[in-house]
Structures are given as structure tokens and as C-alpha cells.
């Protein structure tokens, strides 16, 4: 059983997420080039971070129209877990697999730093190793992470408990001061209606071992690994 990582021209966290998947599962993911039209049989698809197509036009806009995305969309609709990290989240919104958009950070600058996240939904394949309401430290590294959706969409997300992560303080306070990029409702990650597609701006793959100064990202990959092993 296996996972796939989609590689676009300009992806640059593809290796990092492959390392994280291997560290948790012991298995190398298959790297799939964006111009492919078929996906191999797999139990998890990851859209990695980076600057697909240089972020030209809009972050994720061109990648969302890559040949592989048709196959990915079909798999997502059939229930295969899809994880979009950073640029991967941007691609998922541009592809219409998740609602809303990631706009330029409110402060207009690129931000790379550890932030705190409150885990808001643990009833999915990604977060089940976290505790409900757990506060985790995970880095962000983006220029366009300011989550926006119209009021109706936001209502739908909130009432269906589809917000997976929110920016918060170290003590779990979901406040404006803890919001690094201006995201509505401090949203850092969301799920699709069926809970098998997760998009998030933070990079859990960057904190998976003590020498990288944190392990809070590891639980997500461990959870996915057990999925890979049991599937």
C-alpha cells in the first residue's frame, strides 16, 4: 500500500514531505510528475509546498489545471485521503476541491516562523493522533496564507466542523494577536465535506524530529502511516 506525492515544476517541499512519510511509514512515497494523466493505485495523495509555476498568475492557479489534477480530483471524490500543505492547500482551493482562497498575508510580507495551532477536528485520518483542542507548534512559511471565504461558505465550514486547525497562542487562545496572516476566523487548515481532503498552510513535515527543534508534526504522519499499513 502506498502514498503518492505530486511534483509540479517549482514544488520545493516534495522531498521534505517524502522524508516525513518515510520516517513514519518506512515506505518511500511514489513521486508523480504533474504532466501525468493517471495516478498509481495509492492510499494517500500529497500536494507538497513550494512555488508551483513560480506562483505566477496566482499561487496554485496554474498547478490546479495540470493534467494530473483530473485524476486527483476523481480519487478525492472517491474517498482517497488528499493532503495539501502550503502551496498544496493553495492548489486545492484553486482546483475547487476546497472552498475559499488564500490571499496575500495581511502584513504583505513573507513569514517563516513557528506558530501555534489549535487542533479543531480530530475525526479524520490526518488528525486522529492529536487530542481534541490540543495546541501544537508547527512552522508556517508563506506569502499567501490569508484564508478568505464568503460569509455563507464560512458558515458552512464552521457549522459542519470543517476547520481542522486555527492559529492560536501558546496557551491555546484563538485571538487576533495569534493570527499571523489575517486569515478569517484564524483558519489555518480546512477539510472538505467528506473529511478526506485536508488543506493547511503550516508545514507539519518540518517538525518531525528533535534535531529540527520539534516533533509536533510527527503525529500527522504517524496517523497517515498507520492508514497506509492497514489499508
Amino acid at each position: 500500500m502506498k502514498s503518492c506525492v505530486i511534483v509540479f515544476p517549482g514544488s520545493n517541499c516534495d522531498r521534505d514531505v517524502a522524508v516525513a512519510l518515510k520516517a513514519s511509514s518506512g515506505m518511500e512515497p511514489q513521486m508523480v510528475w504533474h504532466s501525468e494523466t493517471e495516478l498509481p493505485k495509492c492510499d494517500l495523495i500529497v500536494l507538497p509546498g513550494g512555488f508551483s509555476h513560480g506562483d505566477y498568475l496566482r499561487s496554485g492557479a496554474m498547478a490546479a489545471r495540470a493534467p494530473i489534477m483530473r485524476a486527483l480530483s476523481a480519487r478525492a471524490k472517491a474517498g482517497t485521503p488528499v493532503l495539501g500543505l502550503c502551496n498544496g492547500f493553495q492548489i486545492l482551493t484553486e482546483a475547487g476541491l476546497l472552498p475559499g482562497a488564500l490571499m496575500r498575508n495581511a502584513g504583505l510580507k513573507f513569514i517563516c516562523r513557528d506558530i501555534f495551532l489549535k487542533v479543531e477536528n480530530i475525526h479524520n485520518v490526518f488528525n486522529r493522533n492529536y487530542a481534541d483542542g490540543q495546541v501544537v507548534r508547527i512552522p508556517i512559511s508563506h506569502h499567501d496564507g490569508n484564508y478568505f471565504a464568503d460569509a455563507a461558505t464560512l458558515d458552512r465550514l464552521e457549522s459542519a466542523n470543517r476547520v481542522a486547525f486555527r492559529y492560536c497562542t501558546a496557551s491555546g487562545d484563538v485571538s487576533a494577536a495569534a493570527n499571523p496572516n489575517g486569515s478569517l476566523n484564524n483558519i489555518a487548515g480546512i477539510l472538505n465535506e467528506t473529511g478526506n481532503v485536508l488543506g493547511m498552510m503550516p508545514h507539519p513535515e518540518r517538525l518531525i524530529s528533535p534535531e529540527l527543534s520539534g516533533t509536533d508534526g510527527r503525529a500527522m504522519f504517524d496517523a497517515l502511516a498507520s492508514l497506509l499499513q492497514t489499508a
Binding site: 517549482g10 512559511s141 518540518r206 534535531e211
Partner: protein, 729 residues
């Protein structure tokens, strides 16, 4: 076109240089040929003012695989791997157009590294800006930082360290020095020496446009009030294309297609072609009709001098050419056979069926004029006694002013705009003495730092040159790394002025002496001269980039205090040298005086000692003492660990302000678990390493001789707030 003296002068060639060209050619060059000469013989490419001095620098050692002369230096890091690194300036373009100037500086230095077969693993940058109250400074800081981030973040190489200074001497001539480190397998290093006759010369990467024409010549001229008009000579970077070029080149280099490769940097197609031919003792034929162009109607002159970015020139094995083309097709990059190697020794360029240049390769590459420029030694500054520098009546306020001022305030505002974690190997992030990246898939680490103290160099080029290397040595040692080698980026004013040349010579001699004593040979570098505007030169700024090796990252030290009750030790001798210290300048307003002398034997002894102690696990935190002196070093360790300290000055320590703020060299602060104290002190005695026990870690204040002088909270506010508040204006 008739070549007039005006045209010659506009190409930056001196009358005697042009006379030399007429002599070797035995005819007048045409305009394309003149352009090629100007590109090859300008200061930036030919090192004509600096070459005689660069030759005197130490460049060898058992760890050196390849020293200066290639795209970057190559150093052995064991296990069949090498580190490949270099630092380079992009000063003039960054002043004119800060975002693109800085961005293309980063792009250029990364190409230098992956041209040699290495995957870039870390970027650093050494930046100098004008005074904080100079109108243009904020705009330049903002643009340069955004440009560095914009390029490095997109290509996905972490920017892990660097340094920033503000000084009125850089008001109209900022310095942007970018460093890149890559890692390659030792048997997969690629060089620029062409070989074989009739082998295809291949152009890959971006198309050629009219941007950057004469960029290298601009970098070899002084500025004046009309510099703004040079904006069109600044190149525009495309990090996305560079990312594709990086992946395509490394994929190609995994096979055996490449004979020689050279990135098109300064003077683009001209420099790369001549370099490869000259190193191989060959000739080279280029047919410009095959060069991928961004716009139609470009002349041979424009194509040969364009500095369009993200381009490479290669000599390939003829039977591997089609396989190579397939790789570049997949990465959607141009791939064009634009010429071949010949045995004529001539650089021949054809365009639209005509020969537009026919020049001897050796003359272009090797017969650039070399100048023994006259120089006058810098007048030595006299010693400034501590008693002549007023004491402070409020140590706490003075400390907060230094820690919350432009020189020592946290650089977080800058490095949070750089992705410093991508690639998943950053084991020591910005903010410490040196950044450390893990060698992917191993337990080894490469430590990296950039250093120079321009105010020391201005007061004494020789001591300042020594100090730059010594500080790099200390920063690497303080994380537990063994210093390996050095790259230098020598930024100075107009070398035709003897006093500037005197600064250059003094710094080179100091750097060389320290490199020899500390075992850190120079393996690569770059010289940036003519950093002057309207006749005012920058402070002498020989920026040093250095790398070191940790065999096991688990043994790495950081500056953060770790545990309450740990013992604090000062290593090295404190005479209380205040001349050229930040205290003297910022608090007492004294800019005179000699900089601290650097005792290289003490540096070696103390550095080797603390490295051994770090590796043996006796040390919980380590920090070198540099700008601002002892109390600043203690405060930085306290802030990083969020633990205060209680310190008692030794009885002999007077005058107190000199002890607290003096910038004596060869010193470190260590924290040690109480159980390890005796062992470490015994080891220090055995090695005759001077030490002073200062106190213990703990609490929420900096407590000095029984009195709290600052709370960590107040110090942190001052330290963290200065930069964002400055930038917000």
C-alpha cells in the same frame, strides 16, 4: 562603426589598455570585439587591480579539493562528499534596484554552486546599509530583504544566516554580499575546463534579452548622482526558471554527458565561453543565430554582453547531446547547440552568416592588464585608554540602549522573511553564532557564518582583516564545528586611490595571516572595487564567509542558557579594550582609537579548547564575545534561553565599563552543568586557557554584583522591537 576614443572610454577601457588591444590584434577591433574586450578586461571579471594581492593569500590545505579560480571553492567533508561554496557581491545593482539587484545576486551565487554539481543547501547574506536616519535606508533594507527572500524562498533553498550593519559610510553605496553552500559527491564535481575538438557547445536555460548589458562594467565604475539612469542595466531574476535549471542540471550531471560547464554570470555568454575555452587551451566557435533570444533583432554586441539570468553554457559529449536535450525538454527549458570547440585557440563568433568577432582566447583571458597599484599604508590609530572613555552611571540603561539599537537589535524582522527551514535539515536556525544545516541523510552538520567588523578595518586594515577571520573561527567553534575554509567578498572603494589600495592591502595581509594561523584557507571569493559615490568611499569591508564541519549534530552547541544553576564561565583574557567598541561609539561618542588586537595563538588555543569541551558534552551553551562585549554576550544567551543570570565581576575587574563592554578578542562565554565544572576547569588549566568564573544561570533578570540591571522582559522588548519599529518608521 568607427572606434573613437570616446567609445573606448565609454567601454571603461583606459587608453593604454586600448593601445594594448591594437598591438595584440594588429588591427582595430570592431564594436562587438571592443565590447568583448571591455567585458573581459573590466575590474569585475579580470581582477586587474587585485590579482597581484590575491595571489599572496593562503589557498591550500589537506581539506581543499579546489581553491579559487573555479565557479566556487570545493572542500572535503568526509564520507566521499564535498561542500562547495562561495560569496559574491551584488552591490551596485542592489543600490539602483534593491529587489532585483539582491534577488539576482542570490540567483547568481546559487548558479555558481550548482554549476559545479552541488545541490545548494544553505544561503547566507552579509548586508551593509547607510545610517538609519538616512532617507533612503528603509527603502533599501525593505527591497533587499524582500529580493533575497523572493528568490531563495521560491527556489527552495533555506536562507539560514548572515549579518547586517548600518553606517553612514554606506549611505549611497550599500553592500549586498550573498553566499551559497552546496553539497556534492566528491566524484561528481564539475569544472569549467573544456576539452576535445568538435564537441558541441550547448546553451541552456532562459532566453537572452537586452537586460543587464554592461552590468559587469557598471560594477567596475564609481557612482555619481546620475546612477539612477543605470537602472536598465540591472537584470531581472526569475527564481522559478532557476529552480527548473537547477533540477535539470543536477539530473544531467548524474550521468556522464558533461565535459565542462560554466554559468553565465557577469558578462554572460562572453565570459562563460572564453573561460571554458581558455582553461582547456582551446578555441571556440559560436553561432549566434542559434542563441535563444527573447526579442528579435538583437545584435551580436547585445547578445555577447547580455546578462540575462538563469543561463548556462556547457560542453557536452557529442553522443550524449540528444539525451541531454530530452532532460531540458522535460523541464521546459531552452536547449540549443550554439557552437563547438576548436583547436584554433580563437574565439570566433558568427552571426547571420558573417564572422562578427575573431579574437585570440588567451589574450582575452590571460592578457588582461594586471596593475601593481600604488598604495599607502593606513595611518595606525592610537590606543584609546579606558580611562579616557567615560563610565556609565546606569549599566542597565546602557545595556538596553545597545541591545535595542541598530547594531545589536534582533534581526528577526529580516530572517522571518526568509524561508530558513525548507529542505528539512536546518538544525540551527538564525539568531545564534553560526547556522547549522544537517548533511542530508547523515548525522553530520555544516556550520556557516559571515563576519567582518568594518569599523575595525577602517581603523586598522591589518587587525580588522585578522579579526574578521578570527570572529568567523569563533562563531564556528562556538557551535562545536571544526572550521574548514573561507570565502571572501572584498568590498572597497576606488583602487586607483593609494589610500584605498592601502586599505585593501592591509586587510588582505591580515586575512592571510589569520587564515594561515587558524587553518581556514581561502577557497573562493570575489572583489568589489569602486564602491564610491561622488568620491566618498565605503568603509573597507572584506566580508568573510566561512564553513565548518560537525561530525555529529547531537554534539552541537547553541547560545541559549539551558538550565538554572548552570555555572557561567568566561574563556579568554579581558583587558577592557574600548577603542572602536560599540560602547565607545554609541554611548561615549568616541570614534577614534585602535581596534582590539587579535592574538591568533590565543584564538587558536581558546577556540580549540571550547570546541573540544562542546564535543565532549561538558558545555550546555556557548557564545563568542564580539560586538558590545561581555554583558551583551550574556544578555543574548539569557534572551535565547529565557533564563536570567547572576554575575559577579572579579575584584581585579576595573574599570568596570571596560570589563563589561570592552571588545577584547579570543573570548567566549560558556555555561556548564555544575557537575561538569571541575572537569572543565581542570582541562582549561591543563591547556593554559585563561578563564574566569562569573556566576550562575537563573531567574528573570540580569543581576550584576548583587543588583538587577535589567529584567529579561524589558531587554527583550528593546531587543525585538527596534527593527520592526525602525522599518515602520
Amino acid at each position: 562603426m568607427k572606434i573613437t576614443p570616446e567609445i573606448v572610454a565609454a567601454h571603461g577601457l583606459k587608453p593604454d589598455e586600448y593601445a594594448h588591444i591594437l598591438r595584440v590584434l594588429n588591427r582595430e577591433p570592431n564594436i562587438t570585439e571592443l565590447g568583448i574586450f571591455s567585458a573581459m578586461w573590466n575590474e569585475h571579471c579580470s581582477y586587474k587591480s587585485s590579482r597581484v594581492w590575491l595571489r599572496t593569500m593562503p589557498t591550500t590545505g589537506p581539506q581543499v579539493v579546489c581553491g579559487p579560480g573555479e565557479n566556487a571553492g570545493v572542500v572535503d567533508i568526509g564520507d566521499g562528499q564535498v561542500a562547495i561554496f562561495k560569496m559574491e557581491s551584488h552591490n551596485h545593482p542592489s543600490f539602483i534596484e534593491p529587489y532585483q539587484g539582491a534577488a539576482t545576486g542570490v540567483g547568481g551565487i546559487m548558479r555558481d554552486v550548482f554549476t559545479m554539481g552541488a545541490r545548494p543547501v544553505a544561503n547566507l547574506n552579509a548586508l551593509r546599509f547607510g545610517a538609519t536616519d538616512y532617507a533612503r535606508t528603509r527603502h533599501l533594507v525593505s527591497g533587499v530583504v524582500a529580493g533575497i527572500g523572493g528568490y531563495g524562498n521560491c527556489i527552495g533553498v533555506p536562507t539560514v544566516g548572515g549579518e547586517v550593519n548600518f553606517d553612514p559610510g554606506y549611505n549611497s553605496n550599500i553592500l549586498v554580499n550573498a553566499m551559497c553552500i552546496g553539497v556534492a559527491d566528491a566524484d561528481k564535481v564539475f569544472y569549467s575546463t573544456a576539452s576535445g575538438v568538435g564537441n558541441p557547445v550547448v546553451y541552456v536555460g532562459s532566453k537572452t534579452g537586452r537586460d543587464g548589458i554592461h552590468g559587469a562594467s557598471m560594477a567596475s565604475a564609481e557612482f555619481d548622482e546620475n546612477s539612477e539612469e543605470k537602472r536598465p542595466t540591472v537584470q531581472v531574476g526569475d527564481p522559478f526558471t532557476e529552480k527548473l535549471l537547477l533540477e535539470a542540471c543536477l539530473e544531467l550531471m548524474a550521468g556522464d554527458a558533461v565535459i565542462a560547464i560554466q554559468d553565465m554570470g557577469a558578462a554572460g555568454l562572453t565570459c562563460s565561453a572564453v573561460e571554458m575555452a581558455s582553461k582547456g587551451g582551446l578555441g571556440l566557435l559560436l553561432d549566434l543565430d542559434n542563441v535563444p533570444c527573447r526579442e528579435s533583432g538583437m545584435t551580436a554586441y547585445e547578445m555577447m554582453l547580455s546578462e540575462s539570468q538563469e543561463r548556462m553554457l556547457m560542453v557536452l559529449h557529442p553522443d550524449r547531446t540528444e539525451a541531454a536535450r530530452a532532460i531540458f525538454d522535460r523541464w521546459e527549458l531552452d536547449f540549443a547547440i550554439v557552437g563547438e570547440t576548436t583547436d584554433t585557440g580563437r574565439f570566433v563568433i558568427r552571426h547571420r552568416g558573417e564572422t562578427v568577432a575573431d579574437l585570440p582566447v588567451d589574450v582575452l583571458a590571460d592578457q588582461a592588464p594586471v596593475y601593481q597599484r600604488p598604495w599607502t599604508p593606513t595611518q595606525p590609530a592610537s590606543y584609546l585608554a579606558a580611562k579616557d572613555v567615560p563610565d556609565t552611571d546606569d549599566v542597565g540603561a546602557t545595556l538596553a540602549r545597545l541591545m535595542g539599537g541598530p547594531h545589536l537589535a534582533s534581526r528577526r524582522w529580516i530572517w522571518e522573511q526568509y524561508d530558513h527551514m525548507v529542505m528539512g535539515d536546518t538544525v540551527q536556525r538564525p539568531g545564534g553564532d553560526a547556522a547549522v544545516v544537517r548533511v542530508h541523510g547523515s548525522r553530520k552538520g555544516i556550520a556557516a557564518t559571515t563576519d567582518v567588523t568594518p569599523r575595525y578595518c577602517a581603523a586598522s586594515p591589518f587587525e580588522g582583516g585578522k579579526q574578521a577571520i578570527a570572529e568567523a573561527f569563533r562563531n564556528l567553534s562556538a557551535v562545536g564545528a571544526k572550521p574548514l575554509a573561507t570565502t571572501d567578498c572584498l568590498n572597497f572603494g576606488n583602487p586607483e586611490r593609494p589610500e584605498i589600495m592601502g586599505q585593501f592591502v592591509g586587510c588582505i595581509e591580515g586575512i592571510s595571516e589569520a587564515c594561515r594561523a587558524l587553518g581556514m584557507p581561502i577557497v573562493s571569493g570575489n572583489v568589489s572595487l569602486y564602491n564610491e559615490t561622488s568620491g566618498v568611499a565605503i568603509p573597507p569591508t572584506p566580508a568573510i564567509g566561512a564553513i565548518g564541519l560537525l561530525n555529529n549534530i547531537d554534539q552541537m552547541a547553541t547560545i541559549a542558557f539551558k538550565q538554572d544553576g548552570d555555572v557561567i564561565l568566561l574563556i579568554g583574557e579581558t583587558a577592557g579594550h574600548l577603542g572602536q567598541s560599540l560602547y565607545a561609539r554609541e554611548i561615549a561618542g568616541r570614534t577614534d582609537g585602535a581596534p582590539p588586537a587579535v592574538d591568533l595563538a590565543a584564538e587558536r588555543r581558546n577556540g580549540d579548547f571550547i570546541r573540544e569541551q562542546i564535543i565532549s558534552g561538558n558545555v550546555t551553551a556557548a557564545h563568542d564575545v564580539s560586538d558590545g562585549g561581555l554583558l551583551v554576550a550574556l544578555s543574548e544567551m539569557a534572551l535565547a534561553g529565557d533564563r536570567g543570570c547572576t554575575v559577579t565581576l572579579p575584584d581585579a575587574a576595573s574599570p568596570r565599563h571596560a570589563y563589561l563592554f570592552g571588545e577584547d578578542q579570543a573570548r567566549y562565554v560558556l555555561s556548564i552543568a555544575p557537575g561538569r565544572r571541575d572537569a572543565l576547569i581542570a582541562a582549561a588549566r591543563a591547556k593554559q586557557v585563561p578563564f574566569t568564573e562569573l556566576g550562575t544561570v537563573g531567574g528573570i533578570d540580569i543581576i550584576l554584583d548583587g543588583k538587577p540591571v535589567q529584567t529579561l522582559a524589558a531587554l527583550r522588548r528593546a531587543h525585538e522591537n527596534w527593527f520592526p519599529e525602525f522599518m515602520e518608521g
